[in-house]
């Protein structure tokens, strides 16, 4: 089942770039600093070859599709009709949960940075409803939306990086040699986690690709985004030091709060946090859309599936980790582990099964 409205790889990469900003900002400055110390920025760069390799594997998996075949169909061909549908549903349920988690994360960011006393449901419900509507349709809406938003978001990041330069101290970033290789290597894990999630979404959304699509473009985009995130992490660690960065729940927005533009404009963290809602919206919508496609083989072509997926995500998001401390533990510990299990075990497992069964 191919998508009815195709889009180009450039449009899809724009969507993936915007989507990556949400988990990247949640994990990279803080978790990288906690694991890799002052070398947190370096660990992001070191993770890029592994991310490119994982992307190449997924790309190769996706290329096994026959003419007109969708990824869920390929998945079922590889793992068997029923078992494949069950594994797909498992993946779909995980993505559905991740959509709910993204909604909760978005609310937590707004609470931490702008509205400290607000009820999380105030943010979860409108964003969840909007994302459910967008995710119930075709992916083409999302990629076109992302194409418009990408320059805005990347421009905001670049601007804050530029104005953060005077706050950076080389002492906070160097030397990294004294720490040894192990922390730096451990620090690559958050980057790989973010990259794996977005690349899996790219794999599922590549069903709708039209025109010539080469993996070189994907690899280039991974390198570009990775470098940008390394620069952002360097800015945060350079300004606060890795010890303080690891303690802050929203280190990037704490940095933005410190910035003063041309001695006249300051306190723009609320504006930046509001801009990030676009990234949350697109990520949630894409997750719901892909989750719906994954659940479809098991649930059949039910008209209620999009609404049910959206409602489930909203309900989970409203009930998920009411206390901020529980949410932080979930965000930094359990979600990355579960995501790694799905991206690095389930999907390669399906591919391996297909190869063993000589169906791929």
């Amino acid at each position: 089942m191919k998508c009815d409205k195709p889009y180009t790889l450039g449009q899809l990469l724009a969507l993936c770039s915007v989507m990556a900003l949400t988990p990247a900002l949640r994990l990279l400055p803080g978790a990288s600093a906690a694991l890799a110390g002052r070398g947190g920025w370096l660990s992001i760069l070191l993770a890029l070859p592994a991310a490119v390799a994982y992307g190449a594997f997924l790309w190769r998996f996706g290329q096994r599709r026959r003419e007109g075949e969708s990824l869920p169909a390929l998945w079922q061909r590889a793992a068997g009709e029923t078992f494949g549908a069950v594994l797909l549903a498992l993946c779909g349920l995980w993505l559905l949960f991740y959509a709910a988690f993204t909604l909760r994360d978005s609310a937590q960011r707004l609470i931490d940075t702008v509205y400290p006393h607000a009820d999380r449901r105030l943010f979860v419900l409108p964003l969840g409803l909007a994302a459910a509507v967008a995710g119930s349709g075709d992916a083409r809406r999302l990629v076109r939306c992302a194409k418009l938003l990408l320059p805005l978001l990347l421009g905001a990041v670049a601007l804050t990086l530029l104005f953060a330069l005077p706050q950076m101290h080389a002492d906070n970033l160097l030397p990294v040699a004294g720490q040894g290789a192990r922390p730096i290597l451990k620090g690559t894990l958050p980057t790989l986690d973010v990259a794996a999630l977005v690349l899996v979404l790219l794999l599922f959304l590549s069903d709708g690709l039209t025109g010539e699509a080469r993996y070189r473009s994907v690899a280039g985009r991974i390198a570009l985004l990775g470098t940008l995130m390394a620069a952002l992490t360097a800015a945060v660690i350079g300004a606060f030091g890795h010890e303080l960065t690891a303690r802050l729940s929203q280190p990037y927005f704490s940095l933005v709060r410190n910035l003063v533009f041309f001695h006249s404009l300051e306190r723009i963290e609320a504006l930046l946090a509001a801009l990030w809602i676009f990234s949350d919206f697109l990520l949630t919508a894409a997750l719901l859309l892909v989750a719906r496609r994954c659940l479809a083989p098991l649930c059949g072509k039910n008209a209620w599936l999009p609404a049910a997926a959206g409602a489930a995500a909203l309900l989970i998001a409203c009930l998920l980790a009411p206390e901020a401390a529980v949410f932080e533990r979930l965000s930094l510990r359990w979600i990355p582990v579960a995501n790694a299990a799905v991206c690095l075990l389930l999907i390669p497992g399906v591919y391996a099964l297909g190869r063993l069964r000589k169906r791929l």
Binding site: P116, P175, G241, S254, N258, R267
Partner: protein, 383 residues
């Protein structure tokens, strides 16, 4: 046609909902900007109830419109702030532009971790807010008593901040800097200020009626989050060299005739030379200071410039030694020497056993200072 109508309806609904979500008109607590009372300085003291919080706004440009000063106590900073909000007959308090955090000496001796924790968690305060410790006084005295109708504590601390940016005998550390240093070295330097009569004089008033102000007064040293001592302004010159914050500052020495000569330090640097044993132990530390200065005041005809350079070296050496000695005595690496050594020899520092904090109090030191007079103003003095 139906599709266009549907899209138009959808767009109208989105616009109407968007307008309703503006958040201003529908909330009872909506506030206009000109109704906000923008507080710019926060003072913290210890109190039997917990915390004594003092706030001050900046002086208004309008005459006879002095800064607004508020005070209340509470179990914590947050509760004290709430008491001020409720109890003050003022407009809405706005604390997002607090630009200075002043802590009284007694409160600092008990520990400033709660204050730093508040800065970290607060949605209002920035981590870049500079922090000061008021010597021998409570912060409330300075917050409520600085200045007169035309200036207040905010203007005084702005002036301290601007002054120290160019100078080498002080530095305004931000809350983020202090938090980082406490995490990294378990000690930190904080700008110390003193509450003294202002230099501004009023012809109609006597000297005793001069308004009070805050002035830079060296550094306060924190260890484990609590104040453990002060470094005076002359020792702060030594700190400037040892931490790489060299700026302009004056130093007075005596010439061969015993007359005072003022030298203006214009720059310099400090090099660390660790001596390692073959088995990787840190045996000793050499500290080499190089300074440049100008002859600012005093006749060089009474003495040779070489003699002045020697006197400068002696004075600087004394300040540097005193600072290093205090650091060892207090077992507090507030100079961040461990970090500097780590940059010089990362692998050796990583393998160092026992670690630097343990080794530092008993580490043999050698200090050498070389000073150079690079100018004598617009006078040809050199014989």
């Amino acid at each position: 046609m139906i599709r266009q109508f549907r899209n138009a309806m959808l767009l109208s609904i989105i616009i109407i909902v968007g307008l309703c979500l503006g958040g201003c008109g529908l909330r009872e607590q909506a506030r206009e900007v000109d109704e906000l009372l923008v507080m710019q300085t926060m003072g913290l003291d210890s109190d039997p109830r917990g915390v004594l919080l003092s706030l001050s706004s900046a002086a208004s440009a309008a005459p006879d419109n002095p800064p607004v000063r508020l005070q209340s106590a509470g179990a914590s900073i947050t509760t004290a702030l709430e008491h001020i909000r409720v109890g003050a007959n003022e407009e809405d308090l706005f604390c997002a532009h607090i630009g200075h955090l002043l802590i009284g000496e007694a409160a600092a001796r008990k520990g400033i971790r709660p204050a730093l924790d508040y800065v970290c968690r607060s949605g209002d305060l920035r981590l870049s807010v500079p922090l000061y410790i008021l010597r021998e006084r409570d912060a409330q005295e300075a917050v409520l008593g600085t200045g007169d109708k035309s200036f207040g504590i905010c203007d005084a601390l702005d002036s301290v901040d601007a002054d120290l940016r160019a100078r080498g005998d002080g530095h305004c550390a931000s809350a983020a800097d202090i938090l980082r240093d406490l995490e990294r070295y378990d000690s930190a330097l904080v700008c110390a200020v003193a509450f003294r009569p202002s230099a501004e004089t009023d012809q109609s008033a006597g000297a005793e009626d001069r308004p009070q102000t805050v002035l830079p007064d060296g550094y306060a040293v924190l260890k484990g989050g609590a104040l453990c001592g002060f470094l005076d302004r002359e020792q702060a010159v030594g700190v400037g060299f040892l931490t790489g914050n060299t700026g302009i500052c004056e130093l007075t020495v005596t010439d061969q005739a015993g007359l005072p000569v003022t030298l203006m330090l214009t720059g310099g640097k400090c090099t660390l030379e660790p001596r390692w044993t073959d088995d990787g132990r840190l045996e000793a530390l050499g500290v080499q200071v190089e300074a440049e200065a100008l002859l600012a005041e005093g006749s060089a005809n009474n003495t040779s410039l070489d003699y002045l350079e020697m006197m400068l070296e002696r004075a600087l050496s004394e300040h540097v030694r005193q600072v290093l000695q205090l650091s060892k005595q207090w077992k507090a690496d507030f100079l961040g020497l461990e970090g500097r050594l780590e940059r010089l020899s990362p692998r050796k520092m990583r393998a160092l056993n026992p670690d630097f904090a343990v080794r530092w109090p008993s580490l043999p030191l050698t200090v050498s200072v070389s000073a150079r007079l690079t100018g004598t103003g617009d006078v040809e003095d050199r014989p």
